[in-house]
């Protein structure tokens, strides 16, 4: 190995390691989405879990709901705050999307930001899209 080859390889390596830094300099970086409550959700002031728990755990909750509904026909969820909810992602007024009406803002903004591609919508439909 000649010294030139080594130095070239090393330069490529250093550039690769620093790629997260320069990549954001040469491309326009999308800012983090600002979560906001709209419509009915804004007035309701109550949800199935509290804010931080919801942000971290909603996927596990939905997974549990799916099993409860599909396997045990158990459709009522009693939250820690005493309110009851219909265990449904998109059906009815008491479901997730029944209250959080804007899927693009409520679901997609953060999922797109963090490159999460949930397969909810392979079966469920956004109620707004039906009308």
């Amino acid at each position: 190995m000649t010294k030139n080859m080594i130095v070239t390889g090393l330069a490529v390596f250093v550039l690769a390691v620093l790629s997260p830094f320069w990549f954001n300099l040469v491309t326009t970086t999308q800012a983090a989405p600002e979560p906001e409550l709209l419509g009915r959700a804004k007035e309701a002031k109550k949800c199935v879990l509290d804010k931080y728990d919801m942000r971290a755990n909603h996927m596990s909750l939905l997974d549990e709901w799916r099993d409860a509904v599909v396997r045990d026909a158990d459709r009522i969820y009693v939250a820690a705050n005493g309110h009851t909810f219909n265990m449904s992602l998109s059906t009815g007024e008491n479901s997730c999307l029944g209250c959080h009406e804007d899927k693009a803002k409520f679901c997609d903004a953060c999922h797109t930001y963090t490159s999460v591609n949930p397969y909810c919508w392979e079966c469920h439909t956004n109620p707004k899209e039906i009308q």
Binding site: M1, N24, T29, R55, N57, S115
Partner: protein, 334 residues
């Protein structure tokens, strides 16, 4: 010999606890911002110093290990990859070494046979190669997947890799295959050092420490994704802050995240000083990256200087009279 793995194990636990409790005590800015920046600087500077040191080291001899027939007479078939005599052969050899660990594939183990003869026998041992390959590729996938925390919008190749890695669609959030393969392979490599007496005998603390550290990183990461959960949007806000040089500490990131981040930073900072430098070293192994062409080309030691030599002619000139007198044969009579 137990202290050789107990001390690194305790060290990794301690590092974890320092960051976990430190972040809980409001030092998140240190474990999430200051230390990662320092670690990246240490990693790059250390890496460059180390490789430049190797680049300066003299390699006076052609010392490729030959694993096949050398280039010889035209009717003898040469093994162009295992005994290359051209740059292209060396290139293919290096490619196979770097991407497929070809030399490890030939790994053998020596053991005394259990029969009465008690002779030493050598057998092919493929599992180290399998585990090493699984470990390195799983780690590469995990590393590349993490680019989703450092780019926004996330480029297509990263999303594609995530889709491939999560192809089994198990559970929610979906299981990543690399999250299974990486710890499993790392545990195999650890078990090999612990339970194979011959390997255990030659294993040092510096062999165990990276394994425990990587396992610690994997466990904290897997825990955050599948079990204890974190607010991933807040985490990404933080990591994006780091790479756009506007660091922030958003609310609601668990202490576990800082512990994960700290262990990764320790791995980066420790990297250039450790055996992990085989990342750079594999390219520079003289026994792999040289063509075996010593019969075709003359290689002169680059630092040969003029040594005053005394040839036979000079010797004879010097002692001719005495040689003739003693009756010794000389080449020139006068």
């Amino acid at each position: 010999m137990t202290q050789k793995y107990l001390i690194p194990l305790a060290a990794v636990f301690l590092l974890f606890l320092v960051a976990y409790t430190g972040a809980g005590a409001g030092l998140g800015w240190f474990f999430g911002i200051v230390f990662p920046y320092l670690a990246i600087i240490a990693f790059l500077v250390g890496f460059v110093i180390k490789v430049m040191g190797w680049a300066r080291a003299a390699v006076p001899f052609r010392i490729p290990t030959t694993c096949g027939q050398q280039k010889s007479l035209p009717w003898i078939k040469q093994n162009r990859i295992d005994n290359p005599d051209t740059a292209s052969g060396v290139f293919v050899r290096m490619l196979l070494e770097i991407f497929l660990f070809r030399s490890l594939f030939r790994n053998t183990k020596a053991a005394f046979s259990r029969s009465a003869s008690n002779r030493i026998t050598y057998s092919w041992e493929i599992f180290l190669w399998v585990a090493a390959l699984a470990f390195h590729y799983a780690f590469l996938v995990v590393l590349l997947r993490h680019f989703r925390f450092f780019t926004s919008p996330v480029p297509f190749p990263v999303q594609f890799l995530e889709a491939l890695d999560g192809i089994v669609q198990l559970g929610l959030p979906g299981l990543f295959l690399s999250g299974v393969v990486l710890p499993a392979a790392a545990l195999f490599l650890l078990a090999r050092r612990l339970f194979d007496q011959k390997v255990r005998y030659i294993s040092q603390a510096s062999d165990y420490f990276p394994l425990f550290l990587i396992l610690g990183i994997a466990i904290t990461g897997i825990s955050m994704r599948y079990f204890t959960k974190v607010d991933i949007t807040a985490v990404k806000e933080m990591t994006m802050g780091l790479v756009t040089f506007s660091p922030t500490i958003p609310d609601g990131i668990g202490n576990l995240f800082y512990a994960h981040m700290f262990l990764v930073s320790v791995l980066f900072a420790y990297f250039p000083a450790s055996k992990l430098m085989h990342l750079g070293g594999v390219f520079l192994s003289p026994t792999r990256n040289m063509a075996n062409n010593t019969r075709a080309k003359r290689h002169v030691n680059p630092w040969n200087y003029d040594v005053p030599i005394h040839t036979y002619e000079q010797y004879e000139d010097h002692f001719r009279d005495k040689m003739i007198e003693a009756g010794l044969p000389v080449e020139k009579k006068e």
